[in-house]
């Protein structure tokens, strides 16, 4: 994985929610999309993604349904209204966090 584990740890939920905001997807697609969007820097393992999806579903942010319209019986996930609110909330928090770090880093780097 390109990014360090610690950086990613806090934001995986956010990433998964963002991808689902693009539309309903199944696990394999989500992994692909993550890879694309991060230009190969985020390569999640299936064993990491599915627990996240299940946890998000248990929390009500996401709902799943089995569908075989693609020719194969698959489990599709999509954001719920609660999930949309969670995404907005998390995104705001993340931007605030990011600004805070930037505010600290910029002057710090100048001194190096």
């Amino acid at each position: 994985m390109g990014f360090g584990r610690d950086i990613l740890r806090g934001s995986l939920d956010l990433m998964v929610l963002s991808i689902l905001a693009e539309g309903p997807q199944y696990g394999y697609l989500i992994l692909q999309r993550l890879r694309e969007a991060s230009r190969g820097q985020v390569e999640l393992k299936a064993g990491t993604l599915y627990p996240i999806l299940h946890r998000l579903e248990a929390a009500g942010s996401v709902k799943s349904r089995w569908d075989d319209s693609t020719g194969r019986d698959r489990k599709w996930y999509q954001l719920t209204p609660k999930g949309q609110r969670a995404l907005r909330h998390e995104a705001e928090a993340w931007y605030a966090y990011s600004e805070c770090i930037q505010a600290l880093l910029t002057p710090a780097l100048r001194t190096l």
């Binding site: 199944y26 696990g27 394999y28 064993g47 990491t48 946890r55 489990k75």
Partner: protein, 429 residues
């Protein structure tokens, strides 16, 4: 690594998931779909199926860790990890240890940081009791005393509701027991089922001193076991077997069914072999000749052997297998060679695991039912025994396979053979 390994991994995962049956099967379904999509992708890039599966297993990671993560949703105790990405190495090790070594589950729980509830006994004593019980359960299971094993496991779970290995074994045994019971003819009543259980029990000592006669031996068995035993004396006397035929034996720790077999063997011989069948709670003893003529029809529901989320190929194999069985069944049966039978079943089970479907179907047709020798009626005659439909009938026997049901009209002996085969096939899964 091979397909077999993935199946094994999936089974392992399934067993470790502390979720409801529905949730477990959904997860398996989802992971399997993911795997297959993944495999298609890699294979389209030139990897062999084997290589692709190895990569896939790497992708999925350690089954124990994944099971832990997926089961989090239902864990009651305090050691819920907040982060799904990092499981402490210690926690994984503790989990693995608790899974591999019976009885250490409590230590493992402590290592992960679980505080014992106030007022319980200290962990060490508890662990050793649990360990002893687990040993007992394993021994019982080994002796095919499934119901007793399950009782002991329930004791373990009463002391430690999250004892993973006890849970696995209990689930497994419940499945085995229901599979075995499921094989009984749906019309078979509770009384007959009870008799079967009685026949399975072990007698610690049986002594028939020199001079004991057949009817005395039977009377003794009736009194000491409570079994209803009825003898078809007319048939026996026609075959020259008298009530005062001599029986003597001195046995220890033998199953009742075996004792009965031995008594009947001592009394009848060769052409006038004796046998028995169970009907409405009664054990009926008669001559082989009579038994072989007497056929009953049973329907075996084998859909559970045919359904497999994992492998459509295996389902097709098993369907072909049973069609083959139905088609290849000769008529009548007399003796069966125990060793050959055992090794045959082992081979079949091994083949099913390797999923070489064609071989299995052919093998069944060629060997399994030719081991059952033609009865006193002579060599099998086509279509003689009963209703039409696909199947070779010998004297009094037909079978056909339709929609997951194996319909067999045959002698008791053949039915027992089928019951045993299905039982072992189910155990092997």
């Amino acid at each position: 690594m091979s397909e077999q390994d993935f199946e094994h991994w999936l089974r392992l995962l399934g067993r470790m998931l502390r979720l409801s049956e529905t949730q477990r099967s959904e997860i398996r379904r989802e992971l399997l779909d993911h795997l297959e999509t993944q495999l298609e992708h890699w294979m389209s890039q030139g990897l062999s199926r084997e290589e692709a599966i190895t990569r896939a297993l790497d992708e999925f990671g350690d089954a124990a860790a994944l099971a832990h993560d997926l089961s989090q949703l239902n864990v009651r105790r305090k050691w819920i990890m907040r982060s799904t990405m990092g499981i402490g190495i210690a926690a994984v090790m503790a989990l693995m240890v608790s899974l591999l070594v019976p009885g250490t589950n409590d230590q493992a729980q402590m290592a992960i940081g679980n505080d014992p509830q106030p007022g319980t006994r200290p962990a060490y004593t508890e662990a050793s009791t649990v360990a002893t019980l687990m040993d007992e359960a394993i021994t019982l299971r080994h002796d095919h005393r499934y119901t007793e094993a399950l009782e002991v496991l329930n004791k373990v779970l009463a002391r430690d509701a999250d004892h993973t290995r006890a849970r696995w074994m209990a689930d497994d045994l419940t499945f085995v027991l229901s599979a075995v019971h499921g094989l009984k003819n749906p019309e078979e009543d509770a009384a007959t089922a009870q008799v079967r259980d009685q026949l399975n029990q072990t007698l610690s000592s049986i002594q028939f001193p020199e001079g004991t006669i057949f009817s005395e031996a039977l009377e003794y068995l009736r009194e000491s076991t409570g079994l209803n035993i009825v003898v078809n004396w007319v048939e026996l006397e026609i075959s020259g077997i008298e009530r005062d035929a001599k029986v003597s034996m001195n046995l220890k720790d033998t199953k009742l069914s075996k004792v009965l077999d031995l008594v009947l063997q001592a009394v009848g011989a060769g052409e006038f072999e004796l046998g028995y069948f169970v009907d409405e709670g009664v054990v009926i003893i008669s001559t082989r000749k009579y038994l072989d003529r007497r056929t009953i029809t049973r329907v075996y529901d084998i859909r559970d052997l045919l359904t497999s989320e994992l492998d459509h190929g295996r389902k097709a194999t098993l369907e072909r297998l049973f069609r083959g069985v139905a088609a290849g069944m000769p008529g009548g049966s007399t003796d069966r060679i125990e060793q050959e039978w055992n090794s045959l079943v082992k081979e079949i089970v091994a083949m099913l695991k390797r999923q070489s479907g064609e071989e299995v179907a052919m093998m069944i047709q060629q060997t399994i039912f030719t081991n059952i020798r033609p009865g006193n009626g002579g060599s099998p005659r086509p279509g003689n025994g009963g209703p039409g439909g696909p199947g070779i009938g010998g004297p009094g026997g037909t079978a056909f396979y339709i929609d997951g049901q194996l319909v067999v009209r045959h002698t008791h002996q053949v039915h027992e053979e089928i019951v045993e085969l299905l039982h072992r096939l189910r155990l092997s899964r």
